[in-house]
């Protein structure tokens, strides 16, 4: 069945086609229909919004911002336009402007959990962690099972070092929204925390198959592939426990080993010392070299 071209459709049918294509993420096709629709009706609010949204998805933030401003000049109260504006302002570095937009949206829609999450995300990115937590608490009061709310709550807990609360929120997210992308990320974080990097890699690879264009997921897969490479196995304690382990090993070699070495033969002492130096060198050089090789 051949697809009807954009110039053959009436406006309403064209709009319906655009919505369908956007839902299926067929952005290239959607952009042709949007361009045709805007030629006929340059002030069409839905088409202006979709045009801006497409530009935002494809990292043309400045173009998206221009289109959103056109949209809001027609209707300053347009909700999707203002929501997109808040996100665009943050991506373009206008954090104070983004905050003002979120606040004005919240004053108009005080019961929207999604808006509290948007504002909370901005606060977290600007290191206002306490305010982010308070905003997430408000979002939780309104919609405790929303995927974005649970994900941001888990993130705030992880930043604050509250591992058990983070686990609780992220597990709830996975249980209630097993098919959402945020759940995938949450599962990866939880698995990594528990030292199950191979399982985390499998989940990340599944996410990548579902969203092959996502550079974020691709970066996660690359990172996990490096971490789970067989040559990284000796570095598992450092990857798992970080600097406390490295410092602990140094303390053992600096203070305990000289005491123990008195009862060992010189070849064994030399062997252990050389092994330790080689391990230190390997721990510094290999993780930086491996990504270039695989």
């Amino acid at each position: 069945m051949t697809e009807t071209g954009p110039h053959e459709l009436e406006y309403d049918a064209l709009l319906e086609q655009v919505e369908l294509l956007m839902q299926r993420r067929r952005y290239d096709q959607a952009s042709r229909y949007i361009a045709e629709g805007l030629k006929r009706r340059p002030d069409s609010q839905p088409l202006l919004y979709y045009s801006a949204f497409l530009d935002w998805q494809q990292d043309r933030n400045a173009d998206a911002l221009g289109t959103v401003r056109r949209l809001l000049a027609i209707d300053p109260a347009d909700y999707p336009g203002r929501y997109l504006l808040a996100n665009l302002q943050a991506e373009l570095g206008d954090f104070a402007g983004s905050e003002q937009t979120w606040i004005s949206l919240l004053r108009d829609y005080p019961d929207s959990a999604s808006l509290y999450v948007g504002y909370g995300r901005l606060m977290l990115n600007t290191l206002n962690v306490d305010k982010a937590r308070r905003l997430v608490a408000e979002a939780m009061r309104r919609d405790p099972h929303d995927d974005e709310v649970l994900f941001l709550a888990g993130l705030c807990d992880l930043v604050d070092g509250r591992q058990s609360d983070a686990t609780k929120h992220l597990e709830t997210l996975i249980r209630h929204h097993p098919d959402k992308l945020a759940s995938g990320y949450a599962l990866i974080m939880l698995l990594e925390q528990r030292g199950r990097s191979r399982d985390a890699l499998r989940v990340a690879q599944q996410l990548l198959r579902a969203s092959p264009d996502s550079t974020t997921i691709l970066d996660v897969v690359r990172r996990l592939k490096v971490q789970t490479h067989w040559s990284m196995v000796p570095l598992y304690p450092i990857m798992r426990w970080g600097w406390p382990f490295a410092i602990g090993i140094w303390m053992v070699m600096a203070f305990l080993f000289p005491v123990v070495a008195k009862g060992l033969s010189s070849q064994v002492v030399i062997g252990i010392t050389v092994t330790w130096f080689v391990y230190c060198l390997y721990s510094w050089v290999w993780p930086r070299l491996l990504p270039r090789l695989i």
């Binding site: 954090f95 005080p110 606060m123 600007t126 305010k131 992880l158 140094w250 600096a254």
Partner: protein
């Protein structure tokens, strides 16, 4: 939550022109600074991080305490034979190692001071600033300060 609290929550926090929170030097940079420059070096780098985060006023008491404790530790290590209690404690001959161990302990406290920000940066994959200029500068400061305390303050 009361309406007053909601109003407080909806009061702008960011000043016009506010950018993304400044990134601070990584734990790796701090640890290496401590290892090669000693305790004063890592205190200096932590102070730089506090300045970048605009948290100097909050962190000064902790940094001052760490600096004072470091001077006390160096005094004990240098004058160990003359301090009355020390004969009961057998110190290793290589006191430089002990100074390094103390520097790593100071690093641990400094890491706790900014752990929230470090975690936030790693979750948001915020790029870190180039650590070399500040790191080398702090290492030099650390070496000079340690020598100063050993040779001048505790002669």
């Amino acid at each position: 939550m009361t309406q007053n609290n909601i109003d407080d929550l909806l009061t702008p926090t960011l000043s016009p022109g506010a950018g993304q929170a400044p990134a601070i030097y990584s734990l790796t940079a701090s640890m290496l600074t401590a290892f090669f420059g000693g305790p004063f070096a890592v205190i200096a780098l932590t102070a730089v991080n506090s300045w970048r985060l605009d948290q100097v006023r909050r962190d000064i008491p902790v940094l001052a305490l760490l600096a004072t404790a470091t001077i006390g530790m160096l005094f004990l290590l240098v004058r160990a034979d003359q301090v009355p209690l020390m004969p009961f404690v057998e110190l290793p001959d290589d006191r430089a190692l002990l100074i390094k161990a103390w520097a790593l302990a100071v690093f641990g406290v400094s890491a706790l001071l900014h752990q929230r920000f470090q975690r936030n940066m790693s979750f948001s994959a915020t790029p870190r600033p180039n650590p070399w200029p500040a790191g080398i500068g702090c290492v030099l400061i650390g070496i000079v300060m340690t020598r100063f305390v050993i040779d001048v303050v505790t002669p």
